[in-house]
Amino acid sequence: MKKTLMTVMGILGFTSASQAQFAGINGGFILGGGYMESPGQGYGFLQLRGTVYEDDAFAHNLFFEFLGHSDDAELEFVGRGGRTFFEDGDIDFSNFTLNYELEAKLSSAVSFYGGAGAGIEYVSLDDRFDFPIDSDTNFVGQAFVGFRARIGKSFVAQIGVRHLWREDFSLLDDQFLTEDTTAYDLSIGFRF
């Protein structure tokens, strides 16, 4: 046990002495919003980030992202007499993805980034009182590129474009079509 600890301490000491930074001691979060072409809706996202390697030219980042958007729905009910009536509802889409990102530093203030990720898309249907009616879970993948600017020591702002691959989803007995889409986003973040 003692030997293992000494080995770990030695590795940590070696890596901290080198120019590059390992072990994910850098992290941060990014909050942003954007617009996806299909279905032509806005969305918001939050990234929790960690840097696994960084030197003066590149950084390798991993981040967990929550991306969500919402759509209006119309629920159809059948009454006792066989007559139908309708009510408003919401369909919420929540994407949870794990992503890898390569960041290329163009200057001390600006960098270019690109990467990809995959995860699940949770689709939930609520009535107008936010009572859950039905849900579905599907695969979602994404690839993204963009530019990032450092603002001061701890803040960043970025502009990017991403392509989302989404599966069709099913709610109640209805199957809905989704199209792979391109999306554009703006965001700000904090690094620590």
Binding site: P39, D71, F77, R80, L171, L177
Partner: protein, 192 residues
Amino acid sequence: MNKKPGSLVSICVRVARFLFFATPALFLASCSGSRTVGADLKAPPGRTVNKTVVDSDVFIPNGSTLEVLYSSRNRYFVEAGGALLGFKKGVNRSKIYAEKGALIPNVASQFGFTIYTVKDASKSYRDRYKELLPADVQPPNVNGGMVTPVVGGGVSRGRWGGGWGLWGRSGYRGGGSSRPTSVRSSSYKIKN
């Protein structure tokens, strides 16, 4: 050392005694305000009503004023000459369908609202479920609305037939299915 368990017991007794007296008091206080929950409300003409409104549809005719303390998941239908004011304690997911000439909150200062301009707020209120009642269901009121000020609470939010206490939704759905049979999305097409 011997004192510790005694003081611990004393603290527990005091906390339990506090909770015993405080919980009913807080419960009564929470119910004692003027509230409308899960109901349909028609503001009395020529009068100002001040209340908290949750999960309700509210019609405000010409000459009536409704001052809302807190609003959550409501739909307001405001005629020209009607006034919807207040919201000192906040707004959450509420919609206003107002005629031109209606006095409604300044959108810039209120988050949580979606405002629609309608030609006839009275008709919008009447048709809020697209008027497809099953034949064997008695409408709640000939005038298309029902004054149901729920003072002192006692109306908890339940599912169909369970706890709404008012004519509410189970009645309106005519004892038919509490689960929608199908759903339409405003942005996603159904697969053939």
